[in-house]
């Protein structure tokens, strides 16, 4: 059976990703983050803790780099030797980029991390053996390992704090790699609801926790395949092509620039998160 399968579907098994001729059919979840709107307030990060049962590891473990912020706010200075950072900071919400060609996926020895049909980079906790190769190979370092057994660690979820845990999301035990899922538990519910009604998920029907909380609406999330989705319109307008590792617009010498870009695109990871450059007024 398997050999026949191999022979019959050989071309399917040999198709690469991302490719123009094999687009995502129903869903391709993607995000765009406007760095000009982002104020660095950390609401998204806390919302992620609340939604995804992230453990609070405490000072000592945080000092060792054991923190679990799937969504982390990075703060960069750009004062180039000036006395003050007088153009403010550059805040960057960093989460799993859900790369179309994810470096983490190929290296997992047990296939615990996969690309789903919806274009998510998924992590199967049950399957994970904790080799941590995925994080070694992640250029963004957005994967977080359970260095300890947090459910049984003191003061992580002391009773009755564990009652806050989201039953839709697994609480991970020790030795498992975890990362941003684009709130897959919400996507699953939305998809199943839509399927019941015989349609696809509409734009705005499902929000990630970080998107929902963001006070400035800097985060847009949606289905890139859906022509009505705001996220797709943004990608289109910014001329950022999911399937390219170098955008044509970057070579153009126009006076007016488009500010969409993807981080470390040159590594050919094809991230699903587009950032919009921060703006600064030149008149002051």
């Amino acid at each position: 059976m398997s050999i026949t399968n191999l022979l019959e579907n050989w071309s399917d098994f040999r198709h690469q990703h991302p490719s123009e001729d094999r687009p995502h059919l129903e869903y391709k979840w993607a995000m765009s983050i406007d760095l000009d709107s982002c104020t660095g307030c950390n609401a998204c990060s806390v919302a992620c803790y609340a939604e995804n049962n992230l453990p609070v590891v405490g000072k000592e473990k945080f000092a060792h780099g054991h923190s679990h912020h799937w969504m982390r706010i990075e703060r960069y200075w750009d004062n180039d030797g000036r006395e003050f950072a007088d153009q403010g900071a550059q805040f960057l919400p960093m989460l799993c980029q859900h790369c179309e060609s994810a470096p983490c996926e190929t290296v997992c020895p047990v296939g615990a991390t996969n690309h789903t049909a919806d274009g998510l980079n998924s992590q199967v906790y049950n399957r994970c053996v904790g080799s941590r190769y995925c994080n070694a190979n992640c250029p963004y370092k957005v994967r977080y390992f359970n260095w300890y057994d947090y459910p049984t660690t003191d003061n992580v979820w002391p009773a009755p704090m564990e009652q806050q845990l989201n039953p839709d999301v697994t609480v991970r035990g020790k030795g498992v790699m975890e990362k941003c899922t684009f709130c897959v538990q919400r996507l699953t519910v939305a998809k199943s609801d839509a399927r019941t009604e015989g349609r696809l998920v509409l734009d705005g029907e499902v929000q990630t926790a970080c998107q929902q909380v963001c006070p400035t609406g800097a985060i847009t999330f949606g289905n890139l395949v859906d022509p009505l989705a705001k996220v797709g319109k943004q990608w289109m307008q910014q001329q950022v092509d999911l399937n390219k590792d170098k955008q044509a617009k970057d070579a153009a010498e126009d006076a007016v620039k488009l500010r969409g870009y993807r981080i470390l695109e040159e590594l050919r990871t094809y991230p699903s998160v587009m950032y919009l450059e921060q703006l600064r007024e030149s008149a002051i």
């Binding site: 982390r72 007088d86 806050q164 500010r259």
Partner: protein
């Protein structure tokens, strides 16, 4: 999303009888297997409780006083996560990190679970009957003049009950205390515009100049302002607003400014007047008295005094003149000095000169029920109370919604003064510093278990009454809502009036329903009105726009010259108010402790921010433990070098350094409140938070700072990670 026609009482009854075990046992809990709890079938629950499906209930956030509407996700009788209530005009479905952590206040393991009566150094659990009897006895045995209430901001029906209680006593004093509040600006606004808190329409402004108002972080109503900010930055016409922040220590808002101007501390008023001068010179029409008042503030002099370059002053003036309307905001950095009122007045004058009053500085609406309007607090209140206590004028003290022992500077000697009060009742969630000093501690329901109505100080449109309703059954039978306690206390004083109400809920419902005409429910029957109100979480009220004046006189306006140098205490201390820690009342919520400070990325500790130049002069490197000493005291913390602070300034965040409160707060960092100097605003008598002068010395130790930022610091090392582009290179109007 919100179930409309269900009976709220039944819901709670279900939880109380059938659901209580569910509510308490939780998911994945093996206590059922242990036989400690019973398995309950979901087959008989109310039809809106569907296992595995979250139901949303609207309520009001209690993490700060902005009054954002929240929507709690309730599943199997437990509240799991808070989202913003899309129907609340304040936050429109959005939230901040602080608000998200509200569930951790609710499920906090360190909550007090029953009334505690002091017995030596220990608290002894007593029954509520006994506690209330004790209160009755103590209050009855003293002169009503000697009964005092210390509260945080109160509004709505709780405030009404509190006032009724004070009435019933015949006297009693109500001190409303806020450790960190824009009190001077309120007073100055009152003078300049006739209202304490005008409505700021940032989305209409093309330029915002903020004198240290951290409206994106911790100022007044940050979630609301953040949304306005987003529209200000990206309006439909694509004309991106320009934000200029003037302050001595960069706040979160400063970090988002197009231009952050480091100003010498205390010279904000000078800069404002200098700007008026430059604007007048550029041809902006100003009245004569104004022209006279600002005449001497030439660009050169202002630049010398403030440390802001003449180039930037000119550019800023040009920008303000060119792009109208603009908005000038005075924040805590401007008001925190002895001459804070003058600073605020100068800034208000700038707004007026720019013609912003009525444009971006708009009149708020009047409140139809003044008895429910918020009583905003200030530090002057605590000072008065402290003085009263020192003079033995207080015999019975009630404290609610404040933690003065933690937030009062050491010079207040509050702890000693408190000892003079024979009977101190503290309404508390945690055994915080004030509760530890109490004679009787009354455990409060969490905001997820409590009934209340609230009226925020800053309302985005019209007037509104927020409703806070329980999102789940009480965690502990031994806690009570503040409304219930007040009601019980009132029953002792005015039994005839209040004995009809079984509990605060019935009082609240009847109070609301009986006023339904004024609350927009004239066409509904009682139940429909009430249930609609609950399901929306907010009742919109009709109020008259208040009259605003925009013609303050510049005649009396005198702004003092910059501070003279002080050889012993050469540096200014800015106690920073961070978005998550604020005044420290939420310090026991671990998400907030672990959520990195946005600017320094430090977690689980306090720090001393200083400019690298200052640090170099003092021989300090990052991680050095330094002693920050003022005339009033000294604290130790780790040094953090920061490019967003004036070299004359060091800054220590507030909210850390708890000595009690709970496992997550206790012993984390040091308390910057304690070393503030006794300097007060000339006009309002408010504590001048930024006036403290300090010296910084190395304490000898060095630590590795626990922060998210790596050894690369804020540098991207030439890699394309967070990008920035001049706004004139981009066409925003084309963007989606």
């Amino acid at each position: 999303m919100i179930e409309n026609g269900f009976n709220r009482r039944n819901f709670l009854k279900v939880l109380g009888w059938g659901g209580a075990t569910v509510a308490l046992s939780g998911c994945g809990n093996t206590s059922v297997e242990d036989g400690r709890e019973f398995v309950t079938s979901y087959a008989e629950t109310a039809d809106y409780i569907i296992p595995s499906i979250g139901t949303y209930f609207n309520s009001t956030c209690a993490q700060c006083d902005a009054g954002c509407g929240i929507m709690g996700r309730v599943r199997e009788g437990r509240v799991l996560k808070l989202e913003g209530n899309p129907e609340s005009p304040i936050n429109n479905g959005k939230m901040c990190g602080l608000g998200q952590a509200g569930v951790q206040a609710h499920y906090n393991p360190d909550r007090i679970r029953e009334p505690l009566l002091r017995n030596g150094d220990r608290g002894e659990a007593i029954t509520w009957e006994k506690a209330l009897e004790l209160i009755n006895e103590k209050v009855g045995s003293v002169n009503p003049e000697n009964v005092a209430f210390l509260t945080g901001v109160v509004s709505g029906h709780v405030k009404a009950l509190l006032n009724n209680y004070l009435d019933a006593l015949g006297s009693g004093h109500h001190y409303v205390y806020e450790a960190v509040a824009p009190s001077v600006v309120r007073a100055s606004n009152k003078k300049a515009y006739g209202v304490e808190m005008p409505r700021l329409s940032m989305d209409k402004a093309k330029v915002i100049v903020s004198f240290g108002a951290d409206f994106l972080g911790a100022w007044v109503s940050p979630v609301h302002f953040s949304q306005q900010y987003a529209r200000f930055r990206k309006p439909d016409n694509g004309e991106r607003g320009v934000l200029v922040q003037v302050e001595s220590k960069m706040t979160l808002t400063g970090a988002n400014a197009d231009r952050w101007l480091a100003i010498r501390p205390g010279t904000e008023g000078i800069l404002a007047l200098g700007l008026i001068n430059s604007l007048a010179a550029a041809g902006l029409p100003v009245s004569e008295d104004v022209a006279a008042a600002v005449g001497e503030y030439t660009s050169d002099r202002v630049s010398k005094d403030t440390g802001v370059s003449a180039e930037h002053i000119a550019k800023l003036a040009a920008l303000l003149k060119e792009r109208s309307p603009s908005l000038v905001i005075a924040g805590s950095a401007a008001e925190g000095y002895a001459h804070g009122s003058q600073n605020a007045a100068a800034i208000a004058l700038l707004n007026q000169v720019l013609g912003n009053v009525g444009q971006t500085v708009e009149a708020p609406s009047s409140v139809p029920f003044p008895q429910m309007a918020p009583s905003t607090g200030n530090s002057f209140a605590l000072q008065s109370l402290s003085d009263d206590m020192a003079q033995d004028k207080v015999k019975v003290l009630f404290s609610y919604g404040a933690n003065p022992v933690f937030t009062a500077p050491a010079f207040f000697k509050l702890k000693e003064n408190l000892k003079k009060v024979p009977f101190k009742v503290v309404f508390a969630h945690y055994m915080d510093e004030t509760a530890v000093e109490a004679d009787l501690v009354l455990p409060l329901n969490s905001a997820m278990e409590d009934w209340a109505t609230l009226m925020p100080e800053y309302i985005a449109e019209g007037a509104q009454l927020n409703i806070r309703q329980p999102l789940m059954e009480k965690m502990y039978p031994g806690t009570l809502g503040v409304g219930d306690i007040l009601l019980a206390m009132l029953k002792q004083r005015r039994p005839d009036e209040y004995n009809d109400y079984e509990d605060f809920y019935s009082y609240l419902r009847s109070a609301m329903v009986s006023n339904k005409d004024a609350l927009g429910g004239a066409d509904k029957d009682d139940d429909t009105f009430w249930e609609t109100a609950l399901s929306h979480g907010v009742v919109k009220l009709v109020g008259e726009p208040v009259n605003m004046t925009g013609s303050m006189s510049a005649a009396a306006l005198v702004v003092p010259a910059p501070f003279a140098e002080d050889a012993t205490y050469p540096l200014h201390l800015i106690p920073a108010v961070s978005a998550s820690m604020r005044d420290g009342r939420n310090a026991n919520e671990p998400w907030l402790q672990e959520s990195p400070d946005p600017l320094t990325t430090i977690v689980w500790d306090s720090w001393v921010e200083m400019h690298p130049k200052t640090a170099a002069k003092l021989g300090i490197v990052e991680g050095d433990i330094v002693e920050v000493a003022s005339k009033s005291g000294a604290i130790k913390a780790q040094a953090y070098l920061f490019p967003g602070i004036h070299p004359d300034v060091v800054s220590v965040p507030l909210g850390y350094g708890h000595e009690a409160m709970g496992r997550y707060a206790k012993g984390v960092g040091s308390n910057a409140f304690s070393i503030l100097d006794p300097v007060f605003d000339n006009e309002t008598g408010e504590l001048a938070m930024h006036e403290t002068r300090v010296k910084v010395t190395k304490a000898g130790q060095r630590v590795i700072i626990v922060k998210d930022e790596g050894p690369a610091g804020g540098s991207q090392m030439g890699r394309r990670i967070a990008l920035r582009i001049p706004s004139n290179k981009v066409n925003l109007s084309e963007e989606v």
